[in-house]
Symmetry: D2
Subunit: 129 residues, 4 copies
């Protein structure tokens, strides 16, 4: 996370969320932005991010940001996923940061870190989410 | 976005990103967290969010948060999508807020708001992203 | 399903599956065709099919095949989804027709048709799959 | 594709498509089976198939059918993907076999097999679909 090179504060999640609200309102796109349409769009964009990686070897995938074209596509699809997630959260009234904080707390109980308990947990990411 | 009811500051995106890094490290899950695996997981979780809505009528979808079970599932899947997006961004070194700010700027040029220009634009969400 | 207008037999699923095997072999693409990559590609293509519909109203969606461009995209994405499904089935050794026949049998038990039993079932597609 | 062990003919794609039509009709699920809902369901199920593989190493993924639980899930998700694809094709009036045959023909022109032309093609699955 070393992209920001200046001392000026970067954009905030809430600021971006608000800009997306204004962007859609100015284009009268709100009628399209139903919860169902937005989750469909979110899934489609996540698929487009996955598409960049689908045929890559692990080595190619690790070096994805060294290829300027792929790096641009990655940033573009990350932006699309985050945009639709924020727009979805706006229309259903969910705070994504609170939702994630609560999920991390549930997962910390569900998957105790090895060493955190007398009896070491054998946890696997396959069981999560 | 009316969930927070206290004056205590809520979680920040960067704080949650860091907690996810520590969570994975404590469980030694980093080897699983390749860019390809994380984009796959992101797409799967986006699909799980979509699944909640797939058979709902527009009316049912709009009222999704009035059903406590569905509301919990929505928050849970929003958290999963955001978690995998942040973990992906960490491993590829992308700042999601900067990526989204840049995308909004590109889209403001690409889809001028009606009234913003002498010649009104005929824009449609189908052309975006 | 009225597309075939001649008496010549159309393509068969097994014939197409075999052509896909030969197509990949001739281009030496088999190393890319791992189960994981193929399920990723399948999901991406399903997302591209969904993308056609994501902003459409129910009326527009019902008339999708009346628009030649959209109709072509629909056929193209259906083909991609089926292609990756068949290629996946080839590499893992699953017969998709047998798998589907067995699933239908399980679902017939799980979701009894109303009227099929003395006590009418209240079934909902939300519970299926 | 060695699953069928008897001489009795296995199920056909058209026969299964028809059974799915009858299954939905008997449960009065047709109103739910809009093109948009069915492509959403297709994407969700493709994601569930991908989920089985998302954290697996290439070795684990190759051996997926040796694990009875995973093998059952794979067959189940293959069936779901094929079911929703067939139901989608029914409602939009597309013959999936014809669509795939046409796509293969287009791809044979677009990605000439090495050796098929004087000038060898440098083709890559990344360019396909």
């Amino acid at each position: 996370m070393t992209e920001r090179e200046t001392d000026t504060p970067g954009p905030t999640l809430e600021g971006l969320r608000q800009r997306l609200v204004e962007f859609a309102a100015a284009r009268r796109w709100e009628p399209f932005h139903t919860p169902k349409n937005l989750t469909a769009a979110l899934t489609v964009e996540a698929g487009e991010l996955l598409e960049i990686f689908q045929w890559l070897t692990p080595e190619q995938a690790s070096a994805v940001m060294a290829d300027p074209d792929r790096a641009h596509r990655v940033r573009d699809e990350v932006a699309d996923v985050l945009a639709y997630l924020l727009q979805f959260c706006t229309v259903v009234g969910v705070d994504p940061l609170t939702a994630l904080a609560e999920k991390i707390e549930r997962n910390e109980l569900r998957f105790p870190a090895p060493g955190a308990l007398a009896e070491e947990a054998d946890v696997n990411p396959e069981d999560a989410s």
